[in-house]
């Protein structure tokens, strides 16, 4: 599903690479947490999976595509097989809930019949059927993130990338979002989630990949935010 080999990313004007020889493999249907302090390389890694950027050296294959050699006109077609949600929701403020979700289907030219059944389905999955006509500004943060999730999955992506999706939410609402993410994962979608939220990682006990200064320092199945073997907090965590 995702195979990265010895990926190095150096940004122009910076001596220290953002990623130093990262290798990892994610299989279909996995749920993976990506943890690490700000600047550890989480975002760079997410950007590469989305093909917003490519490694300076090394290789990255996602959904069978060689992203380094992917022609730029093929990039949009590749991205249609991915869903993305962000900490700041990124909804279109002048479109209502239904339109926000339908937008991502319309943009890639899905037929109206598909949109008219898929959008209500996915809105009911995230529990927002009642609020389809509301504007984003009339929704709570948790509801807005559910709209964003609905938008990310309406086209049935193979991989869902979540970049700190609970970063702006209170613990209870975060829990609801995580339940949704797990349901989406159970439906067969691979989920890759970057997070700082210790509680969530500890409770779910999924695979955890920890980055520090652009390197993978831990890749453990069914782990918590803190290393169970040593009981220590990851050194990169800052309080």
């Amino acid at each position: 599903m995702i195979t990265i080999q010895q990926a190095v990313k150096t940004y122009k004007g910076s001596d220290e690479p953002a990623l130093k020889s990262v290798s990892l493999q994610v299989e279909r249907g996995e749920f993976v947490f990506l943890v690490g302090a700000s600047g550890s390389g989480k975002s760079t890694l997410m950007r590469m999976v989305l093909r917003e950027d490519v490694p300076t050296t090394g290789s990255i294959h996602v959904l069978g595509e060689d992203l380094i050699n992917l022609a730029s006109r093929r990039v949009p077609i590749f991205r249609r097989r991915l869903g993305v949600v962000f900490q700041d929701f990124r909804l279109l403020p002048q479109k209502n809930v239904y339109e926000n979700v339908a937008y991502s289907s319309k943009v890639i030219g899905k037929p109206r019949a598909f949109i008219e059944t898929a959008v209500p389905d996915v809105l009911s999955l995230v529990g927002l059927s009642e609020k389809a006509k509301r504007m984003p500004s009339e929704l709570s943060g948790g509801e807005q993130q559910r709209v964003a999730l609905a938008r990310a999955i309406v086209n049935k992506p193979d991989i869902l990338l979540a970049d700190e999706p609970t970063g702006n939410l209170d613990p209870k609402t975060s829990g609801e979002i995580m339940d949704l993410l797990q349901r989406i994962n159970l439906g067969g979608t691979t989920v890759l989630m970057a997070t700082h939220d210790r509680g969530i990682v500890d409770r779910l006990q999924k695979r955890v990949i920890e980055l520090k200064n652009g390197e993978i320092v831990r890749d453990a199945a069914a782990a918590g935010y803190r290393d169970v073997n040593t009981g220590e907090l990851p050194k990169s965590e800052e309080f």
């Binding site: 006109r73 949009p76 249609r80 937008y103 991502s104 943009v107 890639i108 938008r151």
Partner: protein, 304 residues
């Protein structure tokens, strides 16, 4: 990407950018109107050339007693000299170039003169002898007047050979200068229209950067991201082009046909037919130029 969806996105862009879009409309309107004026002036020149060149004659003026001595040392042209010119005009050398010609006597010249200056006191001072006898020559091809000029300039009893086209050429060069000026203004205005379109597209792309980011994330193709912006520029410029088309057509109908043509009945003017040949090019030109400007702008400012 559905066309309706692209249209609704363009419409959203136009609404959020009303003042810029209006300025595009106005600038394309003015610039294309100047293009239209330049084109119509050229057509007017052609029209007048066709009309007048066919009627333009070459006059071979014979000497009179009052002619300048330099051209006519022997005074009034003798009958032999007149006959010699006549013979040369019918000769095998010149005949092929000549459509027809006739001789105008002092009396005929005086009659014409009196008619033309009926209202003026000048007519009463002029006597028939002072007016040149002349051969009026219609050429098969009016461009070849040099043949007549060369054959008769300096011939005995000939005072002067004059091509009427000489008078017209100064009118044409005046009209031509007008046409070139209009084209130059049009060029400057078009350049500013293109820059304005490009700036507007840039602003529009900036004000919709959230949508664009989301479109990219959900995998919209480059074309479907760019197309609404290009369409926005094209729609605005097309509106301007349509306005200029109306303006050019109205100018021809109201100013030229209803005003000038009525007051100057002996000249042929551009009419609806010429206006209608220019108008589609204005609109087509507006569409193509704005499409080019918007696609270049969106390529530069919107990296997908």
């Amino acid at each position: 990407m559905k066309v309706l969806f692209a249209l609704s996105e363009s419409w959203a862009g136009i609404r959020s950018n009303v003042s810029m879009v209006i300025s595009i409309i106005l600038v394309t309107f003015i610039s294309l109107s100047f293009v239209g004026i330049a084109a119509l002036l050229q057509l007017q020149i052609n029209e007048m050339k066709n009309y007048w060149y066919d009627r333009a004659q070459v006059a071979v003026y014979m000497c009179t007693d009052v002619s300048p001595a330099a051209a006519c040392p022997t005074g009034e042209a003798s009958e032999a000299e007149i006959a010699a010119v006549d013979a040369q005009l019918t000769s095998t050398v010149l005949a092929p170039y000549i459509d027809q010609y006739y001789f105008e006597t002092h009396e005929q010249a005086y009659e014409k003169f009196s008619e033309e200056f009926a209202d003026s006191t000048v007519a009463s001072y002029v006597t028939p002898e002072q007016l040149n006898e002349a051969f009026w020559v219609n050429l098969t091809n009016p461009e070849q007047s040099a043949i007549i000029t060369e054959s008769f300039s300096g011939a005995a009893g000939v005072e002067q050979v004059r091509d009427q086209r000489g008078y017209l050429d100064s009118i044409f060069s005046f009209l031509n200068a007008g046409s070139i000026t209009a084209a130059a203004v049009a060029g400057v205005m078009l350049a500013s229209a293109l820059l304005l379109i490009s700036t507007t597209i840039r602003l529009s792309a900036f004000s919709r950067r959230r949508e664009i980011a989301i479109m990219r994330l959900v995998g919209a193709s480059n074309f479907s991201i760019r197309f609404p912006f290009v369409l926005e520029g094209v729609i605005a410029a097309t509106l301007g082009a349509v306005l200029s088309a109306i303006a050019v057509y109205a100018a021809v109908e109201l100013l030229v046909q209803d005003f000038l043509a009525v007051r100057l009945p002996f000249t042929s003017f551009v009419g609806a037919q010429q206006a209608l040949t220019v108008v589609p090019w204005l609109i087509l030109g507006g569409v193509i130029l704005s499409a080019l400007a918007s696609s270049v702008a969106i390529r530069r400012y919107l990296k997908v």
